[in-house]
C-alpha cells in the first residue's frame, strides 16, 4: 500500500502523534487521557508505518540504534565523534544503513524490552512508597508545579509505565501480525 500520498502523510504524522501522545499522557491526571490512551496514540503512527512500508522497514528505521563507530572515533575529536553518533542515530540513519559496516554496533529495541520497562516502572513506582514505611503504592509527591503535568509524583511514573507498556504491546502485536 505504498502510495506516495499516504506514505508522505504518515512520515509527517508520526512525530506529531508522538508529541501528542506524550501530551495526553502528562495531562491525564487532570483531564481525560492518561497512560493507556497516550500509549495507543503513540504507537498508532507505527501501525500506519507498518501498513504502508512493512515490518522490516519499520524495524530498520525506528528500532535499531547505532551506538558506536569506533573507527570514526579514532579519526575525530571527541566532540566530532559525539556529533557523528548523533548524526548516525538521527536524521541520516538511512544513509548510514545503506553502507553497511561492521563497525556500527547495532542495538535492537525489542518491543519486549519496552513492555518490560513499562512493567518495571509501574511496579517500582509503588516500591518507593513501600520503602518509606507506608504500604505499597503510596504516592509520593514532589513540591513542584509544572504547567501541563501538575504536581509530578510516583503516580506519574506509574502512568508512564502504562504508557510504555501499551506502546510496546501494540508494536509487538502489530509487528508479529504484519509479518505473517
Amino acid at each position: 500500500m505504498r502510495t506516495i500520498i499516504l506514505a508522505t502523510a504518515i512520515r509527517l504524522l508520526i512525530p506529531v502523534f508522538q508529541i501528542f501522545s506524550v501530551y495526553i499522557l502528562f495531562r491525564g491526571h487532570n483531564h481525560p487521557g492518561g497512560g493507556f490512551i497516550g500509549g495507543l496514540i503513540g504507537s498508532i503512527g507505527f501501525i500506519f508505518y507498518v501498513m504502508t512500508y512493512g515490518t522490516k522497514h519499520t524495524l530498520k528505521n525506528y528500532f535499531r540504534v547505532h551506538l558506536k563507530n569506533d573507527k570514526v572515533a579514532d579519526l575525530h575529536s571527541r566532540a566530532r565523534h559525539r556529533f557523528h553518533i548523533a548524526r548516525v542515530n538521527s536524521r541520516y540513519r538511512q544513509r548510514v544503513e545503506d553502507e553497511w559496516k561492521w563497525e556500527h554496533r547495532i542495538m535492537r529495541i525489542r518491543p519486549v524490552y519496552i513492555i518490560a520497562t513499562g512493567l518495571f516502572l509501574a511496579a517500582t513506582s509503588g516500591l518507593i512508597g513501600l520503602f518509606s514505611g507506608n504500604p505499597y503504592m503510596t504516592a509520593i509527591w514532589t513540591g513542584l508545579e509544572i504547567p501541563i503535568v501538575g504536581k509530578p509524583g510516583t503516580t506519574l511514573l506509574f502512568d508512564a509505565g502504562v504508557y510504555l507498556l501499551v506502546f510496546g504491546i501494540v508494536l509487538k502485536i502489530t509487528f508479529v501480525m504484519a509479518e505473517e
Partner: protein, 502 residues
C-alpha cells in the same frame, strides 16, 4: 522505615512480577531465564512460608495499598487460608519449574514460558490475597490469560483444539463474573469484600437481589472451578499441553476457583444460605460422580487425571456445602493435598510420557520392572489421591466424612464414599496398565535420558511425594492449621474488623 507486614503481603505478588520482568529483559537468553525463575521460585517458597508463619502467629495481616483507608483503596488481606494457598502454590510452582528445566522442550521455553509461569503465580497469589471484589476479577483474568497462552504454547493441533474451548468458555465465565461484580456494586455501592460482608449482614440490604447476584458468582466461579454442568472445558483442554504446563494448571487452577468460592460464599453471599448450600450439595454430588465416571471411561493417562480433577472438585464443594468448621477445614486440607498430589501425578505421567513417548495406557507397560522407584512415587500419589491412609488424601476425606455424618448429610457422604472407590479403581487401572502389564510390542525405541536430566525430572516428584507423606504422617500440623484456617474463615468478624480497622 519499611514495615514488615506490608512487605510480607506483597512479596508473593512482587517476586514473580519482578521475576517476569527480568525474564522479559533477558528475552533471548533461556539459560538466564531459567536461573531467574529458579531463584524467584525459591524466594517465593521462603516468602510465602514467612507469610504463613506471620499469619499463624499474629492473626490476619492487612495492608491498605496506596495508604487509602479500607473501602476506598484496594486491600490485601492474608488470613490462614489464603496464606496456606499461597504456600501451596509456591511449593507447586517451585516443583514445576524445576521439572520444566528438562521436562519441557526448548522451543517452548524460548517463547516466554518462564515469564508466563511467574505471572501465573502472581495471579494466583493475587486471587488469594486480595480483599477487593473487582481486584479478584483482575487477578482471575491475569491467571486466565496466562493459562490461555500456556495452553497454546507450542501451537500443536491438539493444543489449539483444546484451547479454543478453554478460551471461549472462560471468556464467557469472565463476562459473567464481571456482570456479577457489576450487580453487586449496583446493589451495595461497594467493592471491598469486608465492607460487603458487613453490609450483607445489615437488615437494610435487599436479600433477594443479593441472592440473584450470587448466581452470577456461582456460575462464573463454578466454571473456573469446574463444577458439574460447567466443567466441559477442563477435560477438553487439560490433557493437551505439555506436562510441565498441564501439571501446574491442572494442579492449581481449579483450586483457586474453589478458593474464591469458599471465600465469597462464607464472607459475602450468606443470604438465603440453606438454598445455596442445598444447591452446592447437589452440584457436589454430580460433580464427583460425573468426573470419576469420566476417569473410569478413559484410557489415556492425562485424560484420567483431568477427569479426576473434576471429581475432586466435588469433594471440595461438598465441604463447603456441609458448612461446618470441620468440613471447611476438610476442604482446605483437601485443596492443599490435592494440589500436591495432582501436580505430582501429572509429573509422573510426564516422566513416563517423556521416557516412553506415549500417554496411551494401552501402549505402555512394564514400568514396574523397569522403573520401580518411579512406580513407588506413582503409588504414593495415586493412593493419596484415592484417599488411602495414612497418606495425605485420607485425612481430608475422613474429616469430610466425619463432618458430613455429624451434619447428618448422609446421601452426599455415601456418594463420596462410592466415588472414592471408583477413584481407587481408575488409579489402579493406571497402575495395572502402565506399571504391571507387560509392555506391548512397539517398534518405537525409547529415547534415552542422561543422568542430569533424570535427576532434574525426578527431583520435583520426590519433593512433592515427600510433601504428601509429610502431610499424611504429621497430620496434626496440617489439620491443626486447616482447622484454625476454617475457624478464621467462618468467623467473619475477624476479617471485617481486620480490614476495616475497627
Amino acid at each position: 522505615m519499611l514495615q514488615l507486614h506490608h512487605l510480607l503481603l506483597l512479596l508473593p505478588l512482587l517476586l514473580p512480577l519482578y521475576g517476569a520482568i527480568f525474564c522479559l529483559f533477558s528475552w533471548n537468553r533461556v539459560n538466564l531465564q531459567m536461573a531467574i525463575a529458579c531463584v524467584i521460585q525459591l524466594a517465593m517458597v521462603v516468602a510465602s512460608g514467612a507469610l504463613l508463619y506471620a499469619v499463624n502467629h499474629e492473626g490476619i495481616l492487612v495492608t491498605q495499598l496506596g495508604n487509602w483507608p479500607a473501602p476506598f483503596g484496594i486491600t490485601l488481606v492474608a488470613d490462614l487460608f489464603s496464606a496456606l494457598m499461597v504456600v501451596t502454590a509456591s511449593i507447586t510452582g517451585a516443583a514445576v519449574v524445576l521439572f520444566s528445566l528438562r521436562g519441557l522442550d526448548l522451543p517452548r521455553q524460548d517463547y516466554g514460558y518462564y515469564p508466563l509461569i511467574l505471572m501465573l503465580q502472581m495471579g494466583v497469589a493475587g486471587v488469594c490475597l486480595t480483599g477487593d471484589l473487582f481486584n479478584l476479577f483482575v487477578w482471575f483474568e491475569v491467571l486466565l490469560i496466562c493459562c490461555f497462552v500456556m495452553i497454546t504454547l507450542g501451537g500443536t493441533k491438539p493444543q489449539l483444539e483444546g484451547a479454543i474451548k478453554y478460551v471461549t468458555i472462560n471468556i464467557l465465565a469472565s463476562g459473567l463474573l464481571l456482570t456479577g461484580i457489576g450487580v453487586v456494586y449496583g446493589i451495595t455501592g461497594s467493592l471491598n469484600m469486608a465492607e460487603l460482608a458487613m453490609l450483607v449482614r445489615m437488615p437494610s440490604i435487599n436479600k433477594s437481589l443479593f441472592l440473584m447476584a450470587s448466581t452470577f458468582f456461582i456460575v462464573s466461579l463454578g466454571i473456573k472451578a469446574a463444577l458439574f454442568p460447567l466443567f466441559f472445558w477442563l477435560p477438553a483442554s487439560y490433557h493437551t499441553p505439555p506436562i510441565a504446563i498441564s501439571s501446574f494448571i491442572g494442579g492449581l487452577l481449579t483450586k483457586v476457583g474453589i478458593y474464591a468460592m469458599i471465600r465469597l460464599f462464607t464472607l459475602i453471599f450468606v443470604v438465603e444460605q440453606e438454598l445455596i448450600l442445598a444447591f452446592f450439595t447437589i452440584t457436589a454430588g454430580f460433580t464427583m460422580v460425573i468426573g470419576v465416571l469420566g476417569a473410569a471411561a478413559h484410557y489415556d493417562f492425562r485424560k484420567i487425571l483431568s477427569f479426576h480433577i473434576v471429581s475432586q472438585i466435588g469433594y471440595m464443594l461438598m465441604g463447603l456445602a456441609i458448612f461446618t468448621t470441620l468440613s471447611i477445614a476438610g476442604t482446605i486440607l483437601f485443596i492443599v493435598h490435592n494440589v500436591f498430589v495432582k501436580t505430582n501425578l501429572f509429573l509422573v505421567s510426564g516422566v513416563v510420557g517423556r521416557l516412553k513417548g506415549s500417554f496411551d495406557l494401552k501402549k505402555l507397560g512394564s514400568q514396574y520392572l523397569q522403573r520401580p522407584f518411579l512406580a513407588l512415587l506413582f503409588l504414593i500419589s495415586a493412593l493419596a489421591l484415592a484417599g488411602l491412609p495414612p497418606l495425605s488424601g485420607f485425612w481430608p476425606k475422613f474429616i469430610l466424612v466425619k463432618a458430613g455424618l455429624e451434619a447428618e448429610q448422609y446421601t452426599i457422604v455415601g456418594v463420596s464414599l462410592c466415588v472414592s472407590i471408583i477413584t481407587l479403581f481408575s488409579m489402579t487401572k493406571i497402575w495395572n496398565e502402565v506399571f504391571w502389564k507387560k509392555q506391548p510390542e512397539t517398534d518405537e525405541t525409547e529415547p534415552d535420558a542422561d543422568r542430569l536430566t533424570k535427576a532434574l525430572l525426578y527431583a520435583p516428584i520426590i519433593f512433592l511425594a515427600l510433601c504428601i507423606l509429610y502431610i499424611g504422617l504429621n497430620a496434626e500440623a496440617a489439620i491443626g492449621l486447616a482447622y484454625r484456617a476454617a475457624e478464621q474463615v467462618l468467623n467473619t468478624d475477624l476479617y471485617i474488623n481486620a480490614v476495616l480497622n475497627r
